[in-house]
Amino acid sequence: MSAVLEVLDPGFFVTLQDGGRKGFRNIGVPLAGALDPVWLAAANALAGNPVDAPGLEVRLAGPTLRLKEGGPVRLALVGAMTGEVTTAEGAKRPVAANAAVTLKPGDTFKAGRATGTAYIAVSGGFLGDADLGSYSTFERARLGGIKGRAPQRGDLIACRALAASAGGDLCAEAPPAHARGPIRIMLGPQDDHFEPETLQAFCRDTYTVSPSLDRMGMRLEGPVLTHNALGADIVSDGVTPGVIQCPANGQPIILLADGQTTGGYAKIACAIRADLPRLAHLRPGDTLHFAAVTRDEAKAARQAAQAVFTQWVCTLAPVRPEGPPDSVMLLSHNLISGVTAGEDESV
């Protein structure tokens, strides 16, 4: 049975995202999709959905949603973001990070601010508008999301009411943990535009995330990467999220989910798939390092990440309705700040 959520406040830097829009990159359509598909999957697990059901990605201020029709529905938060439910009668109760909550008709859910990137899932998924097989928002071409854009005040978003047989709300102490240490990359496709010493320096030096950061990509600041005689410009070829472009100024740019489909700068390397979700949580001023790995090591990293997620699902526990109100929330706060803090090597 369907239910309808009304957007009372869209928040800031909030978009609808799913697993991305595959199959249209040959006509210039970016993949889009969740910057951290693992945490979206975690939120969906808490909401009882398939891992890539459409959820709200929160990059700054979370939204306020009211269950307008139907219900109850289950809502879940994953990441460094808490929330609060206000019933139709005005009673308030907090919602911890990394927990699900059941909304009854008339309940209002207000999400707080997110540190890094956080996700909100709802039973059945946030069913905005699908274009080319995906709900993911790509605003420039008005694809997906809510009528091709981010949510606005007054929007009505369909989801699904909880089945009577559904169990109680679950929670976790923290989101699925991401790997630590350097961001792992595979060199290429244009690593031959750099001398071996430059490639070594790239895998040794510290880079800082600049304020030029959005869902399309992030510019880094650090020691200049000097091109050899082959230069910085190439005839444009295919790119993908995680690729590290190096324009003539020698300052790398990492493309993210909304990145374009082809690019004309030499690409020194590309982050491996297992480490893409980590990039979602970097903020201006954060520092990072890179480490080159082999294809086999990239595979082992994917398997390790999958094992972490499976283990995380196994640790889900019922939300205690009458526990000390803030212990879970405080605990998860502390754990999360360790995951996303801007200190060196924390990403």
Partner: protein, 263 residues
């Protein structure tokens, strides 16, 4: 397999050896050349056509999509399903065949309006080239363009075949907002900006025809690699009428195509 340095020389004489380049753990780029040439591009489309014919075969298990560009083809895949090494061997083998595209692209004649409002860079480009603005327009109208690739933004066509007389470097300072449907030139290329976006190309006119429309589910992008295109001048009144039709969703794009479109 050392996939980075693996090369294969095609049997035929003047082919540049193909190279396989890793793009992370989830994509491979097959490079067939390093310059923009019709022949290289036709070989890229030849490999793409061969992959199309293999769709559904075990050899392409886990392959999600491929993107052809000027002289390379990038194949995106699910690394947990696809054997990257085997895929790389397949791509090099397809490259070694040296098959040129058998794709018969569509032929388009698209309306272009050169109203002053739409052509902010026309006078400067004309002055730079020692031509009159009308001569620049006539040169553009006399050219037949080849669609090399669709990239940068949904539906953005890179059109080769710009007459040498009009070749210019990009603007030294890119615009933060190029109006949608602007016809632009830079280097040896012409293009149309499908969406309001930043851009550093020289704006010479505007077309009322949308470059991208997801309602055409079989072909959301108007143009495809291998298509050919010419511009036909229309006055502002005609442009405005067509633009209004496009806005209302009633501008039939097939009327600008010389061949039958796929359904």
């Amino acid at each position: 397999m050392n996939e980075k340095r693996d090369t294969v020389s095609a049997s035929a004489h003047n082919y540049v050896p193909a190279r396989l380049l890793p793009l992370g753990d989830s994509a491979l780029t097959l490079e067939l050349g390093r310059s923009i040439e019709t022949e290289t591009h036709e070989r890229v489309l030849g490999v793409a056509a061969a992959l199309e014919a293999l769709k559904g075969e075990p050899a392409l298990a886990g392959v999600e999509e491929w993107v052809s560009s000027f002289c390379a083809l990038t194949v995106h895949f699910d690394p947990d399903v696809t054997d990257a090494e085997a895929l790389g061997h397949l791509l090099l083998a397809l490259a070694a065949r040296g098959t040129r595209a058998s794709i018969a692209g569509l032929e388009w004649v698209l309306p272009a309006c050169f109203d002053e409002e739409f052509a902010p860079d026309l006078d400067a480009l004309a002055a730079r080239k020692g031509m009159s603005p009308q001569a620049v327009i006539d040169t553009l109208l006399g050219a037949t363009f080849r669609v090399y690739t669709i990239g940068f933004l949904p539906g953005f066509p890179y059109l080769g075949g710009l007459p040498e007389a009009l070749e210019v470097p990009r603007l030294s300072s890119p615009r933060s907002a190029v109006p949608a449907k602007s016809i632009a030139v830079a280097g040896a290329m012409c293009a149309v900006y499908p969406w309001l976006s930043p851009g550093g190309w020289h704006l010479l006119g505007r077309t009322p025809v949308p470059m991208f429309d997801p309602r055409y589910s079989a072909r959301p992008a108007l143009l495809a690699p291998g298509d050919r295109l010419r511009w036909r001048a229309v006055d502002r009144e005609t442009y405005d009428a067509m633009a209004a039709q496009a806005e209302a969703g009633t501008l039939d794009r097939e009327r600008f195509c010389r061949k039958d479109m796929p359904a």
